[in-house]
């Protein structure tokens, strides 16, 4: 187990170097000149462009630029944006908001999704099953920005139940409930369907029949035996979804004006700021890898037959 974890953690190093370089290179090769649009509808003065190019090593070849960047990162310095702001500070400010949003979304999709899935999976065909199937289909077919705007307009402007924008940073948890629902709605539908199928399938498994035959109470049969075995695909999905939620939060953050990483990445790409994009996206990759590792480790907890060494 310990060796397995260590091996997985060591694997992070080449992935880290590979992704940072790829992202740095991608941003570097974006068309457009970083300083062409920085002075509005007039060309930037040459002296200004020259001073900026010198400051950000933009005259160097790509590999040298990347090398200088990595040296700084290893010393804990994420560099500066073209606006003269510290990227580390920006990330420190923005990441908690995105993480909070993703966690709220994850909690909502896990709780509602699992509950609805278990309920329909156990009951089988009937009105409730059909209702859940139709409503999840509806959610899956709606793009996130539609759900976002519709809820913002109805709950925010019309009914005035929620604040229409979450401009505070760090964002208060209670303001993130609706944005979290919007962000998690798609995955919630998937979790519901995944759980439903898994439960419906395992309901007829031998070990469930045995457990029932042993005279165990229904609650224990479902809660421990059935659910634990049915949870593996769901947990896999939820784990990888955390990373996807954080990356996909850009749209939701834009609608509700949450000060997360979304706008950082967007502005970074538009402004050709390799330093910002690399910093933010590399952290996303790390979150993704770590949550995957966590999922893999959870398998053993859920199913004791799984061994790691």
């Amino acid at each position: 187990m310990g060796r397995y974890v260590l091996r997985r953690l060591l694997q992070l190093i080449p992935v880290f170097i590979g992704t940072t370089f790829l992202i740095y290179w991608l941003v570097w090769s974006l068309p457009g000149d970083a300083f062409a649009g920085k002075c509005g509808d007039r060309p930037c003065p040459d002296a200004y462009v020259q001073a900026m190019m010198d400051k950000f090593n933009l005259g160097d070849p790509l590999i040298v630029q990347y090398g200088k960047y990595m040296l700084n990162v290893l010393q804990g310095n994420f560099g500066e944006t073209f606006r003269g702001l510290d990227v580390g500070e920006l990330i420190g400010e923005a990441y908690p908001n995105t993480i909070r949003l993703a966690l709220v979304a994850l909690a909502i999709e896990a709780v509602i999704g699992l509950a609805a899935g278990v309920l329909t999976g156990l009951r089988g065909r009937g009105f409730l099953d059909n209702l859940v199937l139709v409503s999840t289909l509806f959610l899956i077919s709606l793009p996130v920005f539609v759900t976002g705007f519709v809820l913002q307009i109805t709950l925010g402007f019309e009914l005035k139940w929620i604040k229409t924008t979450v401009s505070a940073s760090p964002a208060p948890w209670e303001h993130l409930i609706v944005p979290g629902f919007v962000l998690g709605s798609l995955s919630m539908a998937y979790v519901t369907r995944l759980t439903r199928t898994s439960i419906a399938e395992n309901k007829r498994a031998d070990y469930v029949r045995t457990a029932t035959a042993k005279g165990l109470r229904q609650r224990r049969v479902v809660g421990v035996h059935l659910l634990r075995n049915s949870a593996i695909p769901v947990v896999t999905f939820l784990g990888t979804d955390l990373g996807a939620l954080m990356g996909g939060a850009i749209v939701t953050e834009g609608i509700f004006d949450i000060k997360g990483i979304g706008s950082l990445v967007y502005d970074g790409i538009i402004g050709k700021e390799g330093v910002t994009v690399t910093g933010v996206v590399t952290l996303l990759v790390m979150v993704y890898l770590l949550s995957n590792l966590l999922v893999d480790l959870l398998y053993a907890v859920l199913d004791p037959r799984i061994r790691y060494d």
């Binding site: 062409a36 003065p45 401009s167």
Partner: protein, 556 residues
């Protein structure tokens, strides 16, 4: 998803606008100019308000701040020799007691006593001279450097890169660090010598690059950037990147335009749309640019009933011909295209009446503007357009282009359709993905289509609409237009002994544009803004910003 970048693309760097109520009509709004929503309830002298902001493009140093996001903050923190009247845009003395000249070439500037920086040090002549020298010195890479180009000795402190920034050569080290034309006489007096007479020079002095800098700036620039120290009506408190910039009233402010409220927070939003949502929801107090989604169908007038205004400002929208592309060398063709654009209809249908069709190349809100300089060439006339087209012998496709991320698609397509219908030739709209890419192509002179250009005056003068745009080799002459005749008139106008005489010559220069037609004037801009229920007397200043001198916060 595409985050609307309406602001970035359309807010040209130097947002300085002049309000002349009722100029040209075009909007029949409640709060045009000075009169605003009901003046109910007492004002809270210690009130706090939040205004819409965008993240400044550069550290908050006046000489390097020409875009609107940073300018708003800089102009609350600093005040220069002169300032512009919030309603008329007229230049008035602020720190300066007197700006005296006899020949428009040598200016003797005397300062008022009693002005202090926020750190308590007095504002001396030296602070202006040092700041100007710093901004003009090319290795400092300040955006506002070129505003000093008329000052004697500018060439010695500001060198050009011989082959552009992309080439292998670098700009040579300047031979001097200070411009010879600036001389400190004593603590409250200094002299400015220009290369040649320039009557309009004093009008520039209220603009950002001319602000003074405290001694502490030169001692520790990093510390200054982290906590800027100005001499203006507001003091810097704190800043959270991408979230907010907090200022508070400077109670030692020496000017007579003190603010009537205490705390000012610039809230940074991801987009105008988000800010609009916030102001309708009551989370923001002032929004200076209502997004297109709010303007469409006059939606903002319902959402912010009695809390909105509309005012013209010194900006216009034009279509520029690339002179380096042989397709558009024929002046008759250029005139035909101008005649084929139904400006009024596009303004009404696409912009909901929030633009004013142009009748010349200069915005009506600036001093020196003359009516109808375009003649009848800017009025829709399909018959005449066809005549000009026949004269030009042009057969082929006209192409229009601009950035796709600036919300220009609707009116560009409408313009194309208008040309198509009037002239019976093909017209294609070919957008370029981002604003930066578009600017890059324009700067590299690689445009192969007629392209959108916009201009917002830096300071209220007709001169600013001509010298920087149409002179041979001028910094914003994007189409590479050149006319020895116009150059000669402009040179004569620059050295005219008085502003009035200069303006007459500038107008004569503008008429040369009607002969050559290097650029099609389309319309002049107006700004739509809104405020929350907590504010009274809110209005947009001539600088297209919240007028900090008039606005009050209601007592709770």
């Amino acid at each position: 998803m595409r985050k609307p970048r309406w602001i970035a693309a359309s807010v040209m760097p130097l947002a300085l606008a002049l309000t002349i109520a009722g100029c040209g009509g075009g909007s029949e709004d409640t709060g045009s100019g000075g009169t605003t929503g009901g003046n109910t309830g007492a004002a809270d002298a210690d009130g706090a308000l939040s205004a819409f902001g965008t993240e400044p493009e550069n550290p908050l140093v006046p000489g390097n701040t020409t875009e609107s996001g940073g300018s708003k903050v800089i102009r609350a923190l600093f005040v220069g020799l002169t300032r512009y009247d919030p309603v008329t845009g007229e230049s008035k003395n602020a720190v300066a007691k007197e700006i005296a000249t006899t020949d428009s070439k040598t200016y003797k500037i005397t300062l008022n006593s009693g002005w202090k920086f926020h750190d308590g040090t007095p504002v001396k002549a030296k602070n202006f001279v040092d700041a100007w020298n710093y901004t003009a010195y090319s290795p400092n890479g300040q955006q506002g450097a070129s505003f000093f180009e008329q000052v004697q000795g500018y060439k010695d402190v500001h060198t050009e890169d011989p082959d552009g920034t992309a080439g292998p050569q670098k700009a040579p080290e300047p031979t001097a660090k200070e411009m010879s034309g600036l001389k400190v006489v004593d603590d409250s007096t200094f002299e400015v010598n220009l290369n040649a007479p320039f009557a309009v020079f004093p009008l520039k002095l209220g603009y950002n690059p001319f602000f003074p800098l405290p001694d502490s700036f030169f001692a520790d620039q990093k510390a200054f950037e982290a906590k800027p120290i100005g001499n203006g009506p507001f003091k810097f408190v704190s800043r959270k990147p991408n979230a907010e910039i907090v200022l508070t009233r400077n109670d030692d402010y020496a000017g007579d335009d003190k603010a009537k409220f205490k705390d000012l927070t610039f809230k940074i939003f991801e987009s105008n749309e988000a800010a609009y949502t916030a102001i309708v929801g009551g989370d923001l107090d002032f929004l200076d640019t209502i997004p297109p989604t709010g303007i469409a169908g006059g939606k903002y007038k319902q959402d912010l009933e009695g809390r909105n205004g509309s005012t013209p400002y010194m900006g216009n929208q034009t279509l520029t011909f690339p002179y380096y592309d042989p397709t558009y060398t024929n002046a008759d063709l250029r005139k035909a295209l101008s005649l084929a654009i139904n400006r009024q209809e596009i303004v009404d249908k696409i912009f909901d009446g929030t633009r004013i069709p142009a009748d010349g190349w200069v915005n009506p809100a600036v001093p020196g503007y003359a009516k109808g300089q375009c003649g009848d060439l800017c009025t829709y006339n399909p018959e005449k357009a066809k005549e000009y087209l026949a004269k030009s012998g042009f057969k082929g496709t006209v192409k229009l282009s601009t950035n796709a991320d600036g919300g220009h698609k609707d009116w560009m397509t409408a313009t194309c359709n208008s040309i198509k219908n009037a002239l019976g030739i093909e017209c294609l709209y070919e957008p370029i993905p981002t604003f930066a890419e578009t600017r890059q192509k324009i700067n590299a002179r690689q445009m192969n289509a007629i392209f959108r250009t916009g201009w917002i005056a830096d300071y209220p003068s007709i001169e600013n609409f001509l010298n920087q745009l149409y002179r041979t080799g001028a910094s914003s002459n994007d189409g590479e237009y050149t006319s020895p005749k116009l150059d000669a008139i402009l040179a004569k106008a620059d050295s005219a002994p008085s502003v009035d005489e200069a303006n007459k010559l500038y107008q004569e220069g503008e008429r040369v544009l009607a002969e050559d037609f290097p650029v099609i004037p389309l319309w002049n801009q107006t700004a739509q803004y809104g405020w929350s229920e907590r504010l009274d007397n809110a209005r947009l200043s001539s600088l297209r910003e919240l007028d900090l001198t008039s606005v009050t916060v209601k007592k709770k």
